[in-house]
């Protein structure tokens, strides 16, 4: 159905296809027993023009490469729905309730170490961002939520997050001694020095 290329063209085509790096015309000629390869290169270049693959010359070196308009085929994105882990949800909640907050503060509140990947996941999700550094020794990075966080959770502002009383009323807090609750109400977080550092205007109820 179509004309077969001559032997030299075929040889150049195969050599460049299999080559591990782009080749100069001279290197090609040396590989092919000193043949005059330039006409073959030009014929191939013309042949591949318009195809999905091109023969291109860059700085005197020839190579096959994907046609520029098809570059998107080489990079495909596949979306995958994943549920946030429990640890990540806790960290997100702490950032939301206490922002801006450093990793050390998050750990103090959670009472457990937080793996570095957890904050990365939240930043990948677009819900948490780095909000600068706290001006204390060590200048730790502090984290805060993003507008995407608010829109994802249907919140107009962080003030829409339920307070501790509401959590309790909703039965979300584990039942504890009444005396403890009275104590907690009387002195919110005062016994937690780390928490004190987190206070910001929006937080005070």
């Amino acid at each position: 159905m179509m004309e077969c290329p001559d032997e030299l063209v075929r040889a150049v085509e195969a050599t460049l296809f299999a080559a591990e790096e782009p080749m100069t015309a001279e290197a090609l000629a040396a590989h092919l027993a000193g043949a005059e390869v330039r006409p073959a290169l030009l014929e191939l270049e013309a042949h591949y023009r318009g195809r999905g693959v091109r023969l291109v010359e860059r700085g005197g070196r020839w190579q096959f490469q994907t046609a520029p308009d098809l570059a998107h085929l080489l990079r495909r994105e596949r979306e995958q729905v994943r549920k946030l882990s429990r640890a990540a949800t806790e960290v997100l909640a702490i950032v939301a309730y206490h922002e801006p907050v450093s990793r050390a503060e998050i750990e103090a509140i959670r009472g457990v170490q937080t793996s570095p990947g957890t904050l990365d996941v939240l930043m990948e999700a677009g819900w948490v961002r780095v909000a600068g550094r706290r001006e204390v020794p060590g200048r730790p990075v502090i984290y805060a939520t993003t507008p995407e966080f608010l829109s994802h959770f249907g919140l107009a502002s962080r003030r829409d997050l339920p307070g501790i009383d509401e959590l309790k009323a909703a039965g979300l807090l584990d039942p504890v001694d009444e005396a403890y609750d009275e104590l907690a109400r009387a002195e919110p977080e005062a016994d937690e020095p780390e928490a004190a550092a987190l206070e910001n205007p929006e937080e005070s109820a």
């Binding site: 790096e21 495909r76 994105e77 909640a93 702490i94 959670r110 990948e124 999700a125 997050l161 959590l167």
Partner: protein
């Protein structure tokens, strides 16, 4: 095709037999190589010897093959080569096969030597077929030797993008869990009416002084008091009774497990 890096043995007196190791070319008649390492077991050696009969494997003479194999092994033994046991087992079996084949037919055992010989021939045919197939397979246009794939493919990359999911309820309840876990837990015990152990000991020993008979423990409890005090009094009086018994001031009796407990004074 065959690796010849196994041990090569050259005998002292090479004779006219055109045997050579599997790696040697058939034209090298002069040198006799004995190279047991070069064979993949006795069947492989047999196949090689059979091939030397230069006829179709279906037409080989089993008797001649037996002789050749046994002669080969004997030669190797004469050269004091170490011969793997399976080669010797095969030699012994072939010697048996040969002697059985030479017996008159009516003295032959079952299975007949002909059956055994035919089975051996069938095995050799099968091994021969696979050996040939292997050679033909290796002679094909192999990728990386005869044909080549793209030297530096750009590669197809699939970037997985995670769409993280979390709902309002999970978020808020997670915070509640954190709070519940991290707040210091304080247990408050209300002020309650209790009878201390000391007062119970005083009470019980005083009452034992009055009565000499067995009395039930409950009779020692104060009457008409708050039921909560009553429970405390029962517990304290029980411990008091144990303590008095330990001191040798009282003795205890219980008819059955969980039954009423009785005590009385030990006379001094």
């Amino acid at each position: 095709m065959t690796d010849t890096d196994g041990l090569l043995f050259e005998p002292a007196g090479a004779d006219a037999d055109d045997w050579d190791g599997p790696g040697a070319s058939p034209t090298r008649v002069a040198a006799l190589y004995l190279e047991l390492d070069g064979w993949e077991g006795p069947l492989d050696l047999l196949l090689d010897l059979a091939r030397r009969q230069k006829v179709d494997l279906k037409a080989i003479s089993i008797l001649a093959l037996v002789d050749q194999y046994i002669a080969y092994i004997e030669r190797a033994e004469a050269l004091r080569l170490e011969i793997a046991a399976d080669y010797l087992v095969m030699a012994a079996w072939l010697a048996y096969l040969k002697s059985a084949m030479l017996l008159p037919k009516d003295e032959q055992e079952d299975p007949s030597p002909e059956e055994l010989a035919l089975r051996l021939q069938l095995r050799l045919q099968r091994l021969g077929a696979m050996r040939e197939a292997a050679a033909r397979l290796l002679a094909r246009d192999r990728v990386g030797r005869d044909v080549f794939v793209r030297g530096v493919p750009e590669g197809l990359r699939i970037d997985r993008k995670n769409l993280w999911q979390c709902d309002w309820y999970s978020l808020v309840s997670a915070y509640a869990v954190v709070k519940a876990r991290s707040e210091p837990v304080v247990h408050m015990v209300r002020d309650r009416l209790v009878m201390t152990l000391d007062s119970a000991i005083d009470r019980v020993s005083a009452m034992l002084g009055v009565r000499l008979d067995w009395m039930e423990l409950r009779d020692f409890l104060p009457a008409n008091v708050d039921p909560r005090l009553k429970r405390s009094a029962l517990a304290s009086s029980f411990v008091a009774a144990l303590e008095l018994a330990r001191l040798g001031k009282a003795e205890l009796r219980q008819e059955e497990v969980f039954g009423p407990m009785h005590l009385r004074r030990v006379p001094a």
